[in-house]
């Protein structure tokens, strides 16, 4: 019972912290973010297992995590607000070649982040080649370029 409660507490705690701290922390992993993740896992590992190194406890902890993950995805698939609460919603940050500054700054992004993504995924050169850019739930930025013949001035 104890390890189930511990694992559930850590799952919920981490979910809340990561969700509240924002999308950028999860996606766009830099070298330092990677080290940060290692430190976080090391810090939680001790609290999860304590001084109990048995196989049973290890599997109970794993099962708790997998079970919670499953439960939340099941809930999210059936109840829209649960999915919204846990995963958030996508957000359009560039519309018809124009960055929406307020949305970008609130999401802690700049137009340079958008352009970087446009270059690396679509080979685009300028903002006016982007029809839409969407900050996805995962924290990734999707770029939708204008198709050939489509006008950039809308």
């Amino acid at each position: 019972v104890d390890s189930v409660i511990r694992a559930a507490a850590i799952y919920v705690g981490l979910l809340v912290i990561f969700r509240l701290t924002g999308k950028r922390t999860i996606e766009q992993i830099t070298t330092f973010d990677f080290i940060l993740l290692l430190i976080i896992s090391e810090a939680t590992q001790q609290a999860l297992l304590g001084e109990d190194f048995s196989l049973t406890t290890a599997f109970i902890v794993i099962l708790t995590f997998v079970g919670l993950e499953l439960a939340i995805s099941l809930l999210g698939a059936n109840i829209p607000w649960v999915a919204k609460l846990v995963d958030g919603t996508p957000l359009v940050v560039v519309e018809h070649g124009k960055p929406i500054e307020k949305r970008l700054s609130k999401s802690r992004l700049t137009k340079w982040d958008i352009l970087e993504q446009a270059r690396s995924t679509q080979g685009l050169e300028r903002m006016d080649q982007i029809k839409y850019a969407v900050l996805e739930k995962s924290g990734a930025i999707s770029i939708i370029p204008y198709r050939d013949g489509e006008a950039a001035s809308a």
């Binding site: 509240l20 701290t21 607000w81 919603t89 957000l91 359009v92 839409y132 939708i144």
Partner: protein, 165 residues
Amino acid sequence: VAEQGTDAYGGLEIDEDYPYQRLEWRIERAWWFVLLGLLVAAVLGVFGGGAVSGRDSRQGALEVEWERFVRRDAAFALDVTARGQETVTVVFDARYLELVRVRSVEPEPESVDLGTSTVAYTFRVAPGGSEVRARFWLEAQRAGTLAGDVAVGQDEVSIEQFVYP
């Protein structure tokens, strides 16, 4: 919540929810202050080991220093300073020691005597000396409040602690 946004961007079919997104940003901003508050509290010792947590009580020939806030499964020190001739006996009530684990006692006591509701640690005072200073390394076994008494002779100090999970 109604499905929305399909028409907001021409052909872009997306489940954007800007009102919800704004609520989320507001909560995010509030969280930053909570985060800052938690960090300041941790530095001050609200979670143990800082200025807010240290306690010191003197009662006649007995002085006890301990931590108001401790954490489960983490060792904390309880310092007892007492005056006495030849031997000094530090008496804990057993209900306190039931809830904490005694990791070690520095220096080693000469004897440990179990009473019906007490545990007594006896230390020998060096010839010519008049004081014993002992450190008990303890570890709370469960979260919640902890209370107990430490006594030397007639002098008694009451301890109250909060254990974080």
